[in-house]
Amino acid sequence: MTKKLIILVVAIALMATMFVGCGGSDKSNSNTTANETANETGNSAGNTDNTVEEQPKEVTITLWQQAANTPQSTLDMQERFQKDNPHIKLNIVETPDTGTEAVIAAIAAGNAPAAISMGAPTIMSYIYRNALLPIDDFIAETPDFANFDPKQVDAFKVNGKRYAVPYDKYVMGFYYNKKLFAEAGITSTPTTWEEFLETAKKLTKPEKQQYGFALNAIQWGSWHFETWVWGAGGDLTKQNPDGTLELTFTDPAAIKAAEFYRTLKKEKVIQSDETKNLEGLNKDFALGKAAMIYDSINAGTLAKFVDLGAKAEDIGYFTFPKGPSGQAYTQDGANAFVIPTTKDENVAKAAWTYIMYANSKEELINTLKEQAAKGSLGAAILARTDVKVSDIGPIDEEMQKVMDESNLISRPEYYGKGAVGSFADDMVAKIFGNTNSDIKEVFQEYQDKAANAVEEFNKAVLESK
């Protein structure tokens, strides 16, 4: 008897824990950010007891940074920011290794950064997933925002709302290793796909573990792939007049581009280790193992290669070669600051304060000055119209020239990438990784897979009207 009674008691106790547990964490899903901020507010209030009472509410914002790679100018800026905004405490944590891709997971887990800088493709996909805050209200009360190039700002306008504070516009082009070109007796850079293939062949020397072109097909594969599709005279998607999205993965141009990828692989002019991600490919290029690579033409990218061991004087640039369509295009995008979704208005406001501080005229000049001191001042298309790189110091003319040329043939990424990008990325990785598969079949398969996402996208577009 007693035994049964006790089992019953234990069971009830367990049930109680269960309900308490459920209730507790259900709430926590929505309130975590607020709770945490409140807690930390309490702490910091205790520390700064005797400071001015009239200050705005104390708030802590989380920022992601790679400790090993943060420029001194950023650290200095943050120190000044703390001094000028004592009510905002910066909580700096290490960026997850997956970088900005991890932001959505972090929002779900309630530990997202309050403000973060990312590239255009990522931003678009985040906007589509409701992961970013629209910033129109903030812009309205920030006079300094008039100094930002409206064209660059509107590149992040979706369904009538603006989402990002751009830093600069980037255009893509080719980097090449002048020394390896000279060794192979190549005197001019390729201007067509055929020439590109021939050049790559000449630059491939297996005995030296040297190959022609570092081709990125496995990490964000459609990012580079689209440029080849454009050159072949088509696109991966189509924007209908009413703003809705239509997939054209099976466009003959896409097939042509995929075939060219396979030709490059078959001719063995690309990396033999196909699992190399962008980082590995960058390293290969920097160490002189790869002779050509496709990347954004600007000072930051060049600095990246130098950082990895390249000699700046060995690096040259050329624009995207013409495809079978007789046309060449290249892709453009932008780096910009965004505010990941948060329910706490104070955090969002503090994040905005931080973003505008980090992108103020003075701080931008400081950043450029540091770059100049490190010897890597190069061409850039800044978003701020009141700062010019040429005011800071002399610019690399060769880079400026290729950047200007690329700018003329540049276009933004394929429409709706934010919604269907992950499908296209997987698709490119698949036709590249498994050369036995039928290209058209695979493309059709992924187009079908993405159908749901397209439907959701179009619903949102039509609703916003």
């Binding site: 007693t2 006790i6 824990t17 997956t98 779900a108 409701n130 033999s272 196909e274």
Partner: protein
């Protein structure tokens, strides 16, 4: 004796009460022992898995969790997803490889060590040393061993006149490359088996010898049957960990090339972190758990039947 002679009513009542409290105490005590573990297991496993189960019925919305209830739609989408089935195929291959490389090999190593008389101590010490190399370091090293251009693996192949292989980039080899380094981490398993082998009583061994049971024969008829139990335990644990394989493919290749090394747990992880579809990821997680439960149940059932 004393108690029975006493006829005083109150004394008897007291005794009864004492006996009752004794019984209650006796009944409660085990549960007090069990309570901490029951509660923590419940909170950290049963509650969390229930949450995951719940999420699998939602179109998850990060800014407004859990989002829209969609019933079984996530499961239906999942079963239509060819990547999901490919991940299953990969997981099964991983399972097979782990059984061969991480389960059988330590048994063989232990059997061989059991035969050795001299240097046994040295050998077994050297076996456990590499087991303390942390996982990430091991992976960083083996990635370099498998590197197609500069790696040692292809170097040895070329010495023996074989064609170089792309290893981690080859969809045929990648799974092998990921599991193979596990061989060197099996040191503790080897010692467990060895302990069991050495625990076989001398009488049994002597009797076998007299019956003419030596060499390979002895292994099969005497040693193996006597360490059956620990083998079964290790087999079940290997199976479970093979089906839950996440760290290794994540750190080695993150699923490349073209998903050839994407185990089902990695598929789930990718759905969380790349596609941000928690509903779909959780749905896949539920199916994984179901299959693990079924396989484990069958394994244990078979063992029970055999021992009956």
């Amino acid at each position: 004796m004393k108690a029975s002679t006493s006829s005083d009513y109150t004394v008897a009542l007291n005794k009864k009460r004492q006996l009752e409290t004794y019984h209650i105490k006796k009944a409660i005590t085990p549960w007090l022992f069990l309570l901490p573990a029951i509660v923590t297991t419940f909170v950290l496993r049963y509650y969390t898995i229930f949450q995951a189960f719940r999420i699998s019925f939602y179109q998850y919305d990060v800014s407004n969790p859990p989002g829209r209830f969609v019933g079984f739609q996530k499961f239906i989408e999942l079963f239509k997803n060819s990547d999901y089935w490919q991940a299953w195929k990969n997981t099964i291959v991983f399972l097979g490889l782990m059984i061969v490389l991480n389960f059988f090999v330590p048994i063989i190593q232990a059997l061989l060590l059991g035969e050795i008389t001299k240097l046994k101590g040295l050998f077994s010490t050297l076996y456990i040393l590499p087991a303390v190399i942390p996982l990430t370091i091991n992976i960083a090293l083996w990635k370099w061993v498998w590197e197609p251009e500069y790696g040692v693996a292809n170097y040895f192949l070329k010495i023996f006149g074989a064609e170089p292989v792309a290893w981690l980039s080859s969809s045929q080899w990648v799974k092998f490359c990921i599991i193979f380094p596990g061989i060197i981490g099996g040191g503790f398993a080897v010692l467990l088996y060895l302990a069991a082998i050495l625990a076989i009583s001398d009488d049994v061994k002597e009797a076998a010898k007299l019956d003419g049971c030596t060499g390979i024969k002895r292994i099969f008829y005497i040693t193996l049957p006597n360490i059956k139990f620990i083998i079964l335990i290790q087999f079940v644990l290997t199976t479970i960990s093979a089906l839950q394989l996440l760290d290794l493919p994540f750190q080695f290749t993150d699923g490349a090339p073209a998903g050839a090394s994407r185990s089902l747990p990695l598929f789930i992880y990718h759905y969380y972190t790349r596609n941000y579809d928690y509903g779909q990821g959780s749905a896949a997680a539920m199916t994984l758990m179901l299959i693990i439960s079924i396989i484990t149940y069958i394994q244990l059932r078979l063992n029970n039947q055999e021992s009956e």
